[in-house]
Assembly symmetry: C2
Homo-oligomer: 233 residues x 2
Amino acid sequence: MADNRVTGQAGRRVVSTAIRQALSSGDMVPGQRLVEQELSDTLSVTRSSVREALQDLAAEGLVELVPRRGARVRVISVEEAIQITECRAVLEGLCARRAAELASAEERAELAGIGDRMRASVAQGDLSSYSVLNRQLHAAIAEMSGQKVADGLLERLKGQMVRYQFRLALRPGRPSQSLPQHLAIIEAIVLGDAPAAEAAIRVHLDSVIRELEATPGGGAPDAHEDELEGAGT
Amino acid sequence: MADNRVTGQAGRRVVSTAIRQALSSGDMVPGQRLVEQELSDTLSVTRSSVREALQDLAAEGLVELVPRRGARVRVISVEEAIQITECRAVLEGLCARRAAELASAEERAELAGIGDRMRASVAQGDLSSYSVLNRQLHAAIAEMSGQKVADGLLERLKGQMVRYQFRLALRPGRPSQSLPQHLAIIEAIVLGDAPAAEAAIRVHLDSVIRELEATPGGGAPDAHEDELEGAGT
DNA sequence: GTCGAACTTATTGTCAACAATCTGGTCAAC
DNA sequence: GTTGACCAGATTGTTGACAATAAGTTCGAC
């Protein structure tokens, strides 16, 4: 084939995003081996690019790098997922608190708008738009809080949760359970009640933790997982 | 000539720890350039090792990596230091809460012991042993909580704070201010009062934040940037 | 005397070949 | 039938040379 080989720092990003994508779409399952040569052939990049990308992903906790044995998709146990969510709870709590203190009038209005659209989505049973709004909500809160450090940590943590997020979103009755929680968060921030905002976020993520605790089996590498795309907590 | 060149993955660790050390001892100042060849000569490792170590450090937020321009020690502004401490507050709060719930009788006794020794150190004006006990306390709480994820994040955050920690500890009257806060944390955990433990940790770190806010010079702790580029010739 | 352009040097980025190591399987001995 | 050693193939780790780029410097024109 023609030598379309993407080279260098570009290649590194190609590999990194390709693996991320494959990871979140379920094309790569936890525990799966990632052979450098294979990836460099498939993606038409040099092995160096693959190596560096794998280092990046390992630093983010998405893959596990064992010396002389290569890389594999990291398995995240239910217990670890719970701990991740506990960390998210306090960090997002911090963001929500600050957002309630700092948000401008326009930002509060924007939040209220997201709340309205969430209500509508759930009413219409539109799961995918609800999930989009969900992400928007969390992103907006992080943005409004001005907490760049916390936001960075949260991005990291969420990246590790891709696998569990969509499992949860599929549970029947989940939206009707999480909607009022989301609305409570929004209301507290709009009203500028910082402690209430922090508490509301915690209530929400505590309920996520309870769902996780009810999850069967560990992060065991089921070879066959047919799962829909689309996520949300 | 004795070619003691440490090679490969070992070299990578050598570089990584050497830079960390230099960073915390003040031998390397924020903004300073890190030239690959220079480091590989000084430390007797290959340039590859240096490169990889720099990637690691960049992933941890200790150095900044600009494409085609090399690496420099990352400058952490006072504002960022405050945000880092805010994150620490909630994450350590989580750990303290769990520790209060989960600690065994022996662990509670150990904490109480640390508290006694802290009191003694401050009474004797022994700053260095107080600082050691301080680290022990935080480590013990993280350990007891079983929160591996939070602990990992905290390690990261503390790594970025080396420069400021050093400065804060030197402020006169600081120990007599922080001692009662530490004792309050210990007491809450020993008594198993989870909410109080979380609150006590927050009080403590809020006071650290107030110290940071009173730090002069918004930018780097010392005026190194200017002397870097402009001074000579 | 100052500004700008070409040149030189210092430094990082890339690559492909080579070396070291691990995995899995085969075969012989007990 | 099971255990152990050994061999072959696959995979990662390392290296040094080379290419690409940015910074610094000199020289000439105005």
